[in-house]
Amino acid sequence: MTNNLKILLVEDNSDNSTLFTYLLNRVGYTVTAVTSSEDALKALETLVPDIILCDISLPGENGHGLLKRIRSHSAFQNTCAIAVSAYAREEDKIRCKETGYDDFIEKPIEATSFAQQVTSIYERKKSTSNRSF
């Protein structure tokens, strides 16, 4: 498991946020959890995460709008972004890809392999990206 990754978690459901944070903390990752698009952008003023883990259905601006805004900043153009959503139709997954997410994890997640899944997506992105992040 890659050590000490910094994760920005954008999840408005507090129970799910607690679940994801627990699973990522236990493999040594640092999680900054926020509940809205606005708070995510605020957090990114000071935080440079290795991974942005984002729910799609958020209050106010959704996960698509949020990632478009994040990607418009040069510093985050190549940051690994993963959508975690309970909208799990094929068209939802395709839309996430079109928005710029590197991958999609369907809710309900597999708790015992979630951290490994996140890490694998990050490692894959890292190996295919020109930027060293």
Binding site: N13, L23, A111
Partner: protein, 234 residues
């Protein structure tokens, strides 16, 4: 107003969101990550896990019914070993058969058998048929038997799911693949069915260019057969 499929998608999302935490935390406890469990705690958590996964299956089925009705269910075609899928499903479902003291077995035609189809959908058909077979069998066995048949248009793989359960009356056989249909209430000790499962199995098979058929003798057992055309090697 939301369209019917948007409503179904929103409902599915709103049901999956709390299920994510229920299934997630249950799995964490069952994996004993926070600490050990006594036998009773483990047994009860396994019930929570099983019930929440049943709920998840139902949510997926509801969403698929909406997609099928709007011709929006697009298969994702892949090349994979069907024997591996059957073997995994058998492992997964075995505790249900063990609980009822029913023998569960599979007979394969050869070690590996690659087919090109939608893995998730064919898996769902096999899960559903086995789940039903175990549910409606009180004693005896449930078995999966593969057979390859040759016909004029090429090889055909037949996957038979055979049970020695209560069987289906002839008058009910023509309707079992229709939406919201369950067998006569008096024959069904598990009156909670939605009639979604078999209808979806039949639709998935149609969508994948396969056929699902059923033979049954009331009081003796039922055999469902998935007929899968095998691609001719070029």
């Amino acid at each position: 107003l939301l369209s019917k499929d948007s409503f179904l998608a929103a409902m599915s999302h709103n049901l999956r969101t709390p299920l994510n935490s229920i299934i997630g935390f249950t799995d964490i406890l069952l994996a004993k990550i926070p600490g050990s469990l006594n036998e009773e705690q483990e047994k009860q958590l396994q019930i929570v896990s099983r019930c929440s996964r049943q709920l998840l299956v139902l949510i997926r089925q509801l969403l698929d019914v909406g997609l099928i009705q709007h011709d929006k269910l697009d298969p994702v075609i892949d090349n994979f070993d069907i024997n591996q899928i059957i073997s995994n499903v058998i492992q997964e479902i075995k505790p249900l058969a063990d609980q009822k003291k029913i023998e569960l077995s599979a007979t394969y035609v050869k070690g590996q058998l690659f087919i090109r189809t939608d893995k998730k959908l064919i898996r769902q058909v096999i899960v559903n048929l086995l789940d039903n077979a175990i549910k409606y069998t009180d004693k005896g066995s449930v078995s999966v038997i593969e057979e390859i048949r040759k016909n004029s248009s090429g090889d055909l793989l037949e996957i038979r799911v055979i049970d020695t359960g209560c069987g289906i009356r002839e008058s009910d056989l023509t309707d079992i693949f229709k939406l919201y249909t369950t067998v006569s209430k008096k024959d069904d000790p598990y009156g909670e069915h939605t009639g979604l499962g078999l209808m979806l199995c039949c639709k998935y098979c149609e969508l994948l260019g396969m056929k699902l058929t059923c033979e049954s003798t009331f009081g003796k057992g039922t055999t469902f057969v998935i007929h899968i055309p095998l691609e001719t090697k070029s």
